[in-house]
Structure formats: structure tokens, C-alpha cells
């Protein structure tokens, strides 16, 4: 995907020089609320030069998006912007009507976070591209179409002629984001603002989009503003970095300097969150202590198939969510399951706990096969098998208080406890997950996401289970909260000798919590390895791609990583490729890969399903 080296020397003076495409001076944004004005952005001053990329980083609520929405007059109705933002000679603040529309889309293109909801659903991609071309470039219908096709090619959309006729819902997430970028670039703006353009995408697609942005930057002098909460995402693209917190700009400088020697403690904190976790404490987590006990959980050849109902009179399509997955977990061990959306990892979690019925295979917990248990027996067994869900608030009954939610497992399994004893247990459970006792009377909608997840953990832990399944427990939380929850889970595990099945798409978190990692792709297991070995020397081509896609907060390394990113879209689970399901994206795919899925080979504690891994090693 082309060269990604910055075209402007990083040492270029970033003050209000003549070359600045955008210069912002003392810009503030405030919102009027019933409780008085809320200051979202305070006195921000910065500039972006032609051909340069400015990375703006900060956590949610830091005002980083509002700053740029204000320049385009896109603030909510109760928002006010003061100060100055100049695009060349044009003052943007206070611009309205047709004058504003000669800037929006023409001189500044904008790309938003969620490409599904940010493209107009009832207009084809071609129509939305042509609209900009005809309005701002005055092109005729035929010329606009030809140009639109060229634009899609430029952002590496496969089969552009056909995409023009398609609606947003017919495209994959990555394609949609490419189309969004093409539309933003249609009128050849001088500045492209991308607001969290990769946040809602899978990690490999995220890398593709970042690589595309790195490639586009500087072509025809295009300046780029990349807004993100993840410092590492900036590393391969941005020339300079601006760090925002609580509406103020706290640090700005060339990307290498800021990433290597951050001046502000908060920047250091952000860098820590995004970089790889501290070195694995091998001693604390070698499975040796538990190894003697044999497998506590054993999953054999598990398969889950759904039937996707067709329309009236049309046959149902079978969907294999999970195929032939086997794994073993010793007591006290912690296994990570990773994979992107559609990999079947949540299905696996639910099938293991028999929250949904498997179509084939067996799940054995402590010598008892779950599928053969009758419902009362299974319900009694559930006190040992608990789960934490992805959506902290969605998994809590909105009509129950925190105390009632945590108390429920006791009412089910500890019938002998009286109300006072239950209250005492609930109080202990709250304290253990770090929640104030005062929260006991609250309802879920009165909690923050982090508090909600703590309540979920308290509910799961109140019966002292032996197996805890975590289904993406931190994905819905922001970075600092993620960190707290992960360390809470680590503590609980150490204190209680929990067996952990930890499902996540976030490899850094898995690396911190788990001893072994299983990689899933399209419902199949492709590789199993001890965490340290997987991260150091992945064997399966997909594991390699997955690891390579994780952005690294190092401006010297990341550009080359982005330049090596491979194109390719994940296939639909409804229509998986023949043979090895990964072969359509695999650089090493050979003829034999198309015939049948490779056998699972296991040796020395590592497992892999690939015909060619030995040659590639």
C-alpha cells in the first residue's frame, strides 16, 4: 500500500507560518445546558501545514471532536464557538449559509467515525459521490460518474464500477469507510479531517484504513487531521501530535518527540495505555501449579450452526458460527480467545456455558458432560460457571437495583441465607470490586459504564465460581476504565484461583491476562499457543496479520508496519471460502488450501491449522 514516510520534515516550524492551511487561534467551544454553560474546548491554538498530518489525541470528552466540528459549523444547536480558525485567508468561525457551504466539502473534507450511520442509507455510493462532484466541481452526469469511479480506485475500493451502484448497507465496514473517504476527497479539499475513522472497525481493517490515510497525506499537498483516542494509531500517519484533555491543548510537538519523550504526565499515561502491557510475569502464571489436576474444562469438536431464515417461501441458509473447536483448560488456568467480528468467539463462550445449544461436539466440566444434564442439574451447576458480558449496562436488569442484581444468584443458589446474611454478602461483594456501599440502591441507568461492569463482576463472583467466562468485558469501556477492570480481573483471579476463559479482540488485554491464547477465524480455530510465544513468534499467517495490524506507538517502526498492511476483506460467514477459510486473505495460499480445511496439528503445547506453516517458519 505505497510508501508512508512523512513527506514534510518533522522539524518544520509549526508556528503560524505562511504555509499553514489551517491556523486556529484561541478557539473555545461552550454548550448551553439547563445547568449553565459547559466549556468543551478552551483557548486552543494550533496550525496544520500543507501536506502535513496533525494527529489529535485525547480520551472521549476531551473536546477533540468539538474543536473541529466547530470550524465546520457542525456544533449542536446549543453550542457556541469563539476565537478564530482560518483556512488560508478565510475566517471559519461565524461563517454561515452559502459561504460556509463553499468551505465544507470543497476546501475541508470530513470523515466520521461510524461509516454505516454516516452515509445516507437510501442513496447509492455513486449518487453520493456524484452529488459532491456536480455541486462543487460542476461536472456533468457522465463526467461525474467517471470521476467517481476514479475516486473509488484511488481509495483502493475493489470493483469500483459495481460499488457505484450499491447502497451503503451492501458494503462491508472497511469498504464503507473507504467510500466515505472518497466522498470527502471528491472536491479535492486542501484539508481532510478524519474523526476516529477506525474506531468502529476490526483491527486488520483499521490498519488498512490507517495505511490509506498515510498514503493520501501529502498527495496534491493534502493536509490531514487525524482525531483519535489511541496514540498508537497516530504513529504511522501523523507528523505532529496535539494532546487534548478537558478541552485544553496540553502538549503539542513532532510525533517522534511526543511519543518518545512526552513532557506532560498525562501524555505519558496515554502512551502507557496504548503501548504493550508490562512484561509478562511468567513466574506468577506458569500453569505448573495447576497442571497436575488435568483438564477442568474440556471442549471437543464443538460446532454451532444456525439457520438464517430466508424470506417467505425461500429456504433457510445454514450459517456455521463455529466449526470443530476443541480446547482444554486446567483448573486455575487462563485461556484467551481472540478473533475479529464473525470469528465465533462469543458463540463459543455461550456454547461452552450451554447458554445456547451446540449442534455437535461435547463440553465436559469436571467430568460431567453439560449437554446430558437435565435442566435442574444444569442450573445447580451454574453456580460454578459464571459469565461477564460485553455491554455492562445491557446485562443488568434496568428495573433492579444494584443490590438486587448482586443478590439474585444468592436467592437462586443459597436459599438458606436470610435477608440480613444476604445483605452482608452483597456488601462484601461490592467492596471487593471497589464499589461504594452507597451505590447499592442505584439503578443501572444511574451507573457509569465502568461501575456497571463492576456490578456485573460482583454478580458473577458472589457465588465464588470456579470458571469465569469473560465475553469482551472491556470493549465497551474507555481506556482508563479498561485498565482498571483488567487489573481487577487479574486480582480476583489470583486471589480465588479462578479458571478464566477470556474472549477479546484486544490482543494487548489478552496478553496481560492469559497464559495461552486461541486464535479463531470465521468459526474455526487456526492457532493455539502460550501467550508469550504467540506474540513473539506467531505461526499461522492470520495470527501474523492480526499481530502486525496492531498499531505500535513508535513513529520509527509504525510507518513500515502500515506500509506492509495487506488488502483484503473478510468473507461473509454465510458464504465461507472452500478449504481453508483464511485462504482468500492469505499471502501464502496454495492450491491445496482450497480443497479442505487443514488438519489441526499439535506439538509442544502449540497447535495450528495450516498446510504451509513449516515452510513459512
Amino acid at each position: 500500500m505505497g510508501c508512508a514516510m512523512p513527506s514534510i520534515p518533522a522539524s518544520a516550524d509549526h508556528s503560524q507560518d505562511a504555509a499553514a492551511v489551517l491556523s486556529v487561534r484561541r478557539l473555545s467551544v461552550a454548550f448551553d445546558t439547563p445547568n449553565g454553560a459547559v466549556q468543551a474546548v478552551r483557548d486552543v491554538t494550533l496550525s496544520v501545514a500543507a501536506g502535513e498530518c496533525l494527529g489529535v489525541v485525547g480520551e472521549s470528552g476531551s473536546g477533540k471532536s468539538q474543536l473541529f466540528l466547530a470550524m465546520l459549523g457542525l456544533l449542536a444547536a446549543n453550542g457556541r464557538a469563539t476565537g478564530s480558525a482560518r483556512l488560508g485567508q478565510t475566517e471559519l468561525i461565524g461563517l454561515r449559509g452559502p459561504a460556509l457551504d463553499r468551505v465544507r466539502g470543497v476546501q475541508i473534507g470530513m470523515v466520521f467515525q461510524d461509516p454505516m450511520t454516516s452515509l445516507t442509507p437510501h442513496l447509492t455510493i455513486g449518487a453520493q459521490l456524484a452529488e459532491v462532484l456536480r455541486r462543487h466541481r460542476g461536472l456533468e452526469r457522465a463526467a461525474a460518474r467517471a470521476r467517481a469511479e476514479g475516486l473509488l480506485e484511488r481509495v483502493h475500493v475493489s470493483d469500483p464500477a459495481r460499488r457505484l451502484e450499491q447502497y451503503p448497507h451492501e458494503l462491508s465496514g472497511g469498504m464503507r469507510q473507504r467510500a466515505m473517504i472518497a466522498i470527502a476527497l471528491a472536491a479535492e479539499p486542501r484539508l481532510l479531517i478524519a474523526d476516529e475513522p477506525t474506531t468502529s472497525l476490526d483491527v486488520t481493517i483499521q490498519a488498512q484504513i490507517l495505511a490509506l490515510l498515510a498514503e493520501l497525506k501529502g498527495t496534491h499537498g493534502l493536509a490531514l487531521v487525524l482525531i483519535t483516542h489511541d496514540v498508537a494509531a497516530l504513529a504511522g500517519v501523523a507528523d505532529r501530535v496535539a494532546v487534548m484533555r478537558h478541552g485544553t491543548l496540553i502538549e503539542t510537538g513532532p510525533v517522534r518527540e511526543v511519543l518518545r519523550t512526552p513532557r506532560d504526565p498525562y501524555t505519558r499515561e496515554l502512551l502507557q495505555e496504548s503501548s504493550a502491557p508490562p512484561p509478562v510475569q511468567v513466574a506468577a502464571r506458569t500453569p505448573s501449579a495447576a497442571a497436575a489436576g488435568g483438564a477442568a474444562l474440556s471442549v471437543r469438536d464443538l460446532g454451532v450452526r444456525y439457520r438464517v431464515r430466508g424470506r417467505w417461501l425461500e429456504p433457510a441458509t445454514p450459517l456455521a458460527a463455529l466449526t470443530g473447536v476443541s480446547l482444554e483448560l486446567r483448573a486455575g488456568e487462563s485461556l484467551g480467545i481472540v478473533g475479529e467480528s464473525g470469528s465465533g468467539k462469543s458463540t463459543l463462550a455461550r456454547a461452552v456455558l450451554r447458554l445456547l445449544d451446540a449442534s455437535s461436539g461435547r463440553v465436559v466440566w469436571m467430568g460431567r458432560e453439560l449437554a446430558t444434564l437435565r435442566s435442574p442439574e444444569l442450573r445447580a451447576l451454574r453456580r460454578d460457571l459464571q459469565i461477564i458480558f460485553q455491554e455492562p449496562l445491557g446485562s443488568l436488569d434496568p428495573r433492579m437495583t444494584v443490590a438486587e442484581i448482586i443478590e439474585e444468584p444468592l436467592l437462586v443458589h443459597e436459599r438458606s441465607l436470610d435477608a440480613a446474611a444476604r445483605r452482608a454478602v452483597v456488601a462484601t461483594a461490592l467492596a471487593r470490586v471497589g464499589l461504594a456501599a452507597a451505590l447499592a440502591g442505584r439503578y443501572p441507568h444511574e451507573l457509569s459504564g465502568g461501575q456497571g461492569q463492576r456490578v456485573g463482576i460482583a454478580r458473577a463472583m458472589v457465588l465464588a465460581p470456579r470458571l469465569l467466562v469473560c465475553d469482551e468485558p472491556v470493549s465497551a469501556l474507555d481506556a482508563p476504565t479498561q485498565r482498571q477492570i483488567v487489573s481487577l480481573l487479574g486480582e480476583l483471579r489470583r486471589a480465588q484461583g479462578l479458571t478464566l476463559l477470556f474472549i477479546s479482540h484486544n490482543l494487548a488485554v489478552v496478553r496481560e491476562l492469559c497464559e495461552r491464547v486461541l486464535v479463531l477465524y470465521l468459526g474455526r480455530r487456526v492457532e493455539l499457543a502460550p501467550a508469550a510465544e504467540l506474540f513473539a513468534a506467531p505461526r499461522h499467517p492470520y495470527s501474523r496479520e492480526l499481530l502486525a495490524a496492531i498499531p505500535v506507538a513508535d513513529a520509527d517502526v509504525q510507518p513500515a508496519r502500515l506500509a506492509a498492511v495487506r488488502a483484503g476483506e473478510p468473507p461473509s460467514p454465510l458464504d465461507p471460502p472452500s478449504g481453508c477459510v483464511y485462504r482468500t486473505r492469505c499471502a501464502q495460499a496454495a492450491a491445496q488450501c482450497a480443497v479442505r480445511f487443514p488438519e489441526w496439528e499439535e506439538e509442544g503445547g502449540r497447535g495450528i491449522a495450516c498446510y504451509r506453516w513449516r515452510e513459512l517458519a
Partner: protein, 289 residues
Amino acid sequence: MDESTIASRGLWGDALVRLRHDRAASVALALLGFLALAALIAPLLSPWRYDSLDWQHLASPPGIADAHWLGTDRLGRDLLVRTLHGLRLSLLLAGLASGVSLLIGVLWGAAAGLSGGRIDGAMMRFVDVLYSLPYLFVVIILTTLFPRGSLAVLALALAAVGWLTTARIVRAQTLALKRREFLEAARATGAAPARILWHHIVPNVVGPVVVYGTLIVPQMILFESFLSFLGLGVQEPQASLGNLIYAGAQEMESAPWMVLVPATALVLLLLCLNVLGDGLRDAFDPRER
């Protein structure tokens, strides 16, 4: 069940507070209370009964003469008393019909939503077919099944139409609930199906159903008046807002008050109920929080 009462106190308490802040809804509630009270104690207010004829004052306009404050009809019957009588009848019928239709609708919708699959498909297809009939057919056909003017039959006929929407709402609600993770969480806890139903599903369905119930009442009042207007509902000498308006419309040119009095009462009643229903819906809507 102490825990469920705590939960509902939270829910209802919250809603009540929000309702009190809604000025339009509060006014509507007060006015509605006044109308209902007036309808209840109507016989005490006036020396006249709804069917007593006053031959001295045939079709007399509103005035203070002889306690016919809002005038009389062609037979000298007091319009105020008859209107209040109709009001009481409307409220009674609407309450009855709403109750029955809510009951059927909740059971049908919950059963369909919970069973899912083919059973759900068949049950909702049935609702769809009935829905595609102009609802009036069903009511007209049912009212003609039995002697005209029987209140119980009228209530049943109204309910026969009203339950369709309730069933759809409850089913949608149940399906949405089934997808929510907190039910899965309860299953993962090991809670038995009965516990899940009573402690998780019912409390979460009750709110929307109660709110919908307050919106169904004005619809039922409208239906009833409508049927009485067409001569299919309440029969003379019984008074209903519908047949009063119909009778009044015939005398419009010479005695406009005969249509204006019951029409105003009906509009006022519907207005209050609709505003109150909207207010309740907002008060219960978690998005408003």
C-alpha cells in the same frame, strides 16, 4: 416479594415526579378528575334525571331557568344531565373494553413473543389479517350478533378490535427483551424459567403496557361514541356522547347547543386523556432520564 415492590417504587416514583413537572399533563389530570367526579355525582347536581321529560321546556336554550343550565333537547330532557350520563357511560365502557383488550393483547403478544418460531409467525399472521380488515367491520358484525345496545356486548366488540395493537406492542416488547443480555445473565446465574418470567420479564413489560393502556382508553371512548353515532351502540333513551351528538346534529339549524354541549364534553375528555397519555409515556420513557 419485597424486592419487586422496591423496584416498582423506583420506577413509579420516578415517573410520578416527572409527570408532576409536566404542566400540560397535570392540568389534564386535574380536569379529568373533575369531569369524572361530575359524571359520578351527576344525579345529585340537578333535579332532573337523564330520561325525565320536562314538557314546559322543549328545546330550550342554555340558561338558568328551571335548572336547565345547558338547555334541553326536543323532548325537554336536561342536556347537562344527559351529557354527564353519557360521560359516565363512556368512561365505564372504555374502562371495561380497555381492560379486556389489554388482557387478551398481553396474553396473546407475550405468548407469541416467548414461543417464537412458527407459532409466533402463525399467531401474528392472524393478527395481521384482522388488522387488514377495516376495524369497523368486526365491531359492526359483532354488535349485530346480539341485541343492540347491550353494554357488555358493546365492550366486548370494542375489545375485540383493541387487543390487536396491544398484542403487537407486547410481542415487540417481548422480542426486544429476549435479545437483551440481562436475560442471558439471569439464565447464566442458574435462575429457573419461572423466576426469569416474574422477576425479569414481567416488570420490564408492565411499564409500556400501562402507558399504552392510558392511550387505549380515549380510542375506546371514540369507538363507542362512533358506534352510538351510527345507531349501533347505546340506544335511546340511554344517553351516550355519540348518540347525543347525532341527535344534536339533526337539530343543528334551530338548536345548535344540542350538538355543541355533548361535542364539547367529548372533545374535552379526549383531549385530557390524550395529553395525559402522552405525558405518561414521556414519564416512563427511560430515554427521558
